[in-house]
């Protein structure tokens, strides 16, 4: 089996026209082919190479990572002498991925990376997370290296990025016992020693994924006496200093293979990354955006795994003299899972492409001054990326949970037993709507793009693209959904109450997300009707009913009703 070659829907996302531009920019005119023997000579070779590597990953995920996932979960990581010991199967996975050269996928070649675009890294990450979401976490944290690349000094890049390409693991040490969603209250202390000419970290971090990593990115309070986010800076701290220990590992509901650590910094020497006081307001925001795309990817991967499990079971399980997939309540459920999956994936890769474009412009700006046109375009892509990331993180993770729930339901009693994979997916999915910012926080990040009218603008842009005649009626239905969304948004704004807006924001967010996912799935169906038309029909039907439900709730809302909830 191969998770890549057997997934036509995923393969479709190599065909998007914007990808050509991304690759052209990422490869800067294919100038590196003389210097690095593995750099592509042109677009066709770059695409061929991505396909080959995706095929390799698809094979390794099906043959090694997925079969190992059961052992990864049962054996789990442990702590000994302040160090995390991975499950033996996790070590095997890392060994195979290391040998396969899959540790520095998006880093530039001069640091030893493959220099793949974010859109391709995202596809690879989807394959890995589908096989094992927990391994996907610790492996996927390599993406933190982008923060060192973007904000670190030359010396830091030259030291740390080759380490990552050679297999060093990373972690983002942000959360503390009293600073979860509210990172402004981080207290871990960073003090500068004039004598040693270096920073030292003291304190405790909690809930740190892969907290015994080789390279820690640590958010710490560098400005004594400060109380908010402006007193925080970002530090790089190496495990090899011997002053960072894992005190314990959390006993979690799911993703057992991914150690969630309580990490103690005992006067650990660290390097400042970037400028002082910019830790939270600039670097962590960028780091989190990357991480949110990662969790969105993990979510789509789990939604895919849940759908595949449900479909496989429903085809083989016989009741009432036939396979249960032939029963309307079952095929209705499974068909809807597929529609949600396809819609979430359309949004995921649209987001990834825009993130890519904004990175490419940032990269170009390092080399030369951008022209005014380029600056304007760069802003457009960044804004799109910023607006879409909280949508796919929030909705993608909710969809992962819905699909995991339905997968268990399709399995009936068997699904409640540990014998079937859907049970693990159900537990693994649950964290996706919590970590790297809960769905509620994604709503907070996204709502300004709804109230400013930006999502409406985007929808106008998506729906202006031509569709074949056969999809016109679905196009019209999406347009009318958008109309309903705009009217409802206005009703909320007319309430003139911030509290009411905060209260109703989730509904507005979901309405916008359903419209955008439908519009994007429509666009993908216009590119490949045979592959997506049926999912599109199902998704539009589902989205219409969700939108009406939210619209009715909001129409019947009145500011005074808030008290009924308190």
């Amino acid at each position: 089996m191969n998770y890549y070659s057997e997934n036509r829907e995923l393969r479709h996302f190599l065909k998007h026209p914007l990808l050509k531009r991304i690759v052209e920019m990422k490869e800067a005119g294919y100038a590196q082919s003389g210097e690095y023997d593995y750099a592509p000579v042109d677009f066709d070779e770059a695409m061929y190479g991505y396909g080959q590597v995706l095929y390799l990953v698809g094979e390794l995920c099906a043959d090694v990572i997925a079969p190992n996932a059961v052992r990864v979960e049962c054996e789990g990581p442990s702590v000994a002498d302040g160090r995390v010991v991975y499950a033996p199967a996790t070590t095997e996975n890392f060994d195979i991925f290391g040998k396969a050269g899959l540790m520095g996928i998006s880093l530039p070649r001069r640091f030893g990376g493959l220099n793949f675009p974010t859109a391709i890294f995202t596809m690879i990450q989807e394959l890995v997370c589908r096989a094992d979401a927990a391994f996907g976490n610790i492996w996927g944290l390599q993406d933190c290296a982008a923060t060192i690349y973007n904000f670190g000094s030359d010396a830091q890049r030259e030291r740390y990025l080759p380490m990552v390409c050679a297999g060093a693991t990373m972690s983002m040490d942000l959360t503390e016992p009293d600073a979860g969603s509210d990172l402004q209250s981080v207290r871990l202390k960073a003090s500068y020693s004039e004598e040693d000419g270096c920073w030292y970290l003291d304190g405790v971090k909690r809930f740190i994924t892969n907290g015994d990593s080789d390279i820690h990115l640590v958010l710490a309070r560098s400005e004594e006496g400060s109380v908010d986010g402006r007193g925080l800076s970002l530090f790089i701290c190496e495990k090899s200093c011997g002053k960072v220990r894992t005190r314990r590992i959390e006993d979690k509901m799911g993703i057992h293979g991914s150690p969630t650590c309580e990490v103690v910094f005992d006067h650990a020497p660290a390097e400042l990354c970037g400028s002082r006081k910019m830790g939270l307001i600039k670097y962590v925001m960028s780091l989190m955006n990357g991480a949110r795309l990662g969790i969105a990817t993990q979510s789509v991967a789990i939604a895919q795994a849940a759908y595949s499990e449900a479909l496989g079971y429903a085809r083989s399980r016989r009741q009432f003299g036939k396979a249960i997939i032939e029963l309307p309540p079952v095929y209705g459920m499974v068909g809807t899972m597929k529609a949600r999956l396809d819609a979430a994936r359309s949004l995921l890769y649209e987001t990834a492409r825009n993130v890519d474009m904004s990175y490419q412009f940032a990269e170009l700006a390092r080399v030369r001054t951008l022209t005014p046109e380029e600056r304007a375009e760069s802003k457009l892509f960044s804004k799109k990326a910023d607006a879409l990331t909280p949508l796919i993180k929030g909705m993608g993770s909710e969809i992962a949970n819905m699909n995991a729930y339905d997968a268990v339901q399709v399995h009936g009693g068997s699904g409640y037993m540990k014998d079937y994979l859907c049970e693990r997916l159900y537990r693994d999915a649950r964290i996706t709507s919590i970590y790297e910012g809960t769905t509620q926080l994604q709503v907070v990040a996204a709502i300004r793009y709804a109230t400013s009218g930006y999502y409406g603008e985007l929808l106008g842009e998506y729906l202006a693209e031509p569709v074949p005649a056969s999809l016109l009626s679905l196009h019209a239905r999406v347009e009318s959904m958008v109309g309903r969304y705009m009217v409802t948004l206005e009703q909320v704004q007319m309430l003139g109450s911030q509290e009411a807006l905060d209260f109703l924001a989730r509904r507005i967010y979901e309405m916008a997300a359903y419209c955008i996912m439908a519009a994007l799935l429509l666009r993908d169906a216009a590119m490949d009707e045979e592959l997506f038309a049926s999912s599109l029909f199902r998704f539009v039907s589902l989205a219409e009913s969700e939108i009406v439900a939210h619209a009715v709730y909001i129409e019947n809302f009145d500011n005074k009703l808030l008290n009924q909830y308190k």
Partner: protein, 290 residues
């Protein structure tokens, strides 16, 4: 110590996933219906070679195969996994070879490569399942052979120590170099293809592929010798045509029969205790177990 390692590999039809179209009406294999793959135990042999190279930096792993032009696919596959050089032995004169003629051609190619410390090959191929080629090549080269190896424990200037799988156990043997070793499927699995090497070596080509229409990487091949897969014919290995191909093959296939187990040869037991006891007693009686 820097070793010269040669790995003999074969492209085979994937007999592990046999569908309805796998056999022709005359009982021969329908190769078109079966994907061509790297013979599995040859991958185990390649891994042993790469492990030796890991332990002995500076060593060189050359993969050699005999087959039609498309067999270059498994040579590229070997390059993706870490081999340094690839040679395709191909000539119409080799067609129709049985194990003896194959062994002759391979041994002549090994002589052409020249000096070697160890030749590794899979124990047997999944199409013919003879396990004869390795031993015959050793015989023709006049070097000792260790067959059915699951691990090469050590290798120094003059000796190799290897674990052989034998019935009911493991035998540890020591043999002088140069040496031929056949490796079996319980040995370490081959390492995966490496992304960096795939991006580079997918351009690797034989002279025939290089001259084909539409080949895009001529410039890269000219600049990077590692991308050039050697292509040798009968003349290149100074072979005797009468010992190659059909004419060099004493094995003649007269007839192929499908063997179908007849129902009357089977006996049906139920899960009842009495039946199970009777089954165990019978198996003990005819020495199938115990």
């Amino acid at each position: 110590m820097e070793l010269n390692i040669i790995v003999l590999v074969k492209q085979v039809p994937d007999t592990r996933n046999v569908g309805g179209q796998a056999m022709n009406a005359d009982g021969t294999i329908n190769r078109a219906a079966l994907p061509a793959v790297f013979n599995p135990e040859d991958l185990n042999a390649l891994e042993q070679a790469l492990l030796l190279k890991d332990k002995n930096p500076g060593s060189r792993v050359v993969v050699l195969t005999m087959g039609p032009g498309r067999a270059a696919d498994i040579l590229r596959e070997a390059l993706y996994r870490g081999a340094d050089e690839a040679i395709l032995l191909t000539d119409r004169a080799f067609a129709g070879a049985d194990t003896l003629a194959t062994s002759y051609a391979l041994s002549m190619a090994v002589r052409r490569i020249g000096c070697f410390d160890i030749v590794l090959c899979g124990r047997q191929a999944i199409d013919g399942d003879t396990a004869q080629v390795g031993p015959q090549v050793a015989q023709m080269l006049g070097v000792p052979q260790v067959t059915c190896v699951r691990n090469i424990v050590s290798l120094d200037n003059s000796f190799a120590v290897a674990e052989r799988s034998i019935e009911n156990g493991v035998e540890v043997v020591k043999a002088p170099l140069p040496l031929l070793v056949t490796v079996e499927g319980t040995a370490a699995s081959c390492r995966p293809r490496n992304a960096y090497r795939m991006l580079r070596f997918h351009r690797a080509a034989t002279p025939t592929e290089l001259s084909a229409d539409g080949f895009r990487y001529t410039e890269q091949l000219q600049a990077d010798e590692a991308l050039c897969i050697k292509e040798w014919n009968l003349q290149d290995i100074a072979g005797d045509a009468s010992r190659c191909g059909l004419s060099g093959s004493p094995t003649k296939v007269r007839n192929v029969e499908n063997i179908v187990f007849k129902v009357k040869e089977s006996k049906r037991y139920t899960a009842a205790d009495g039946d199970l006891k009777a089954l165990v007693a019978e198996l003990l009686d005819n020495h199938t177990i115990g």
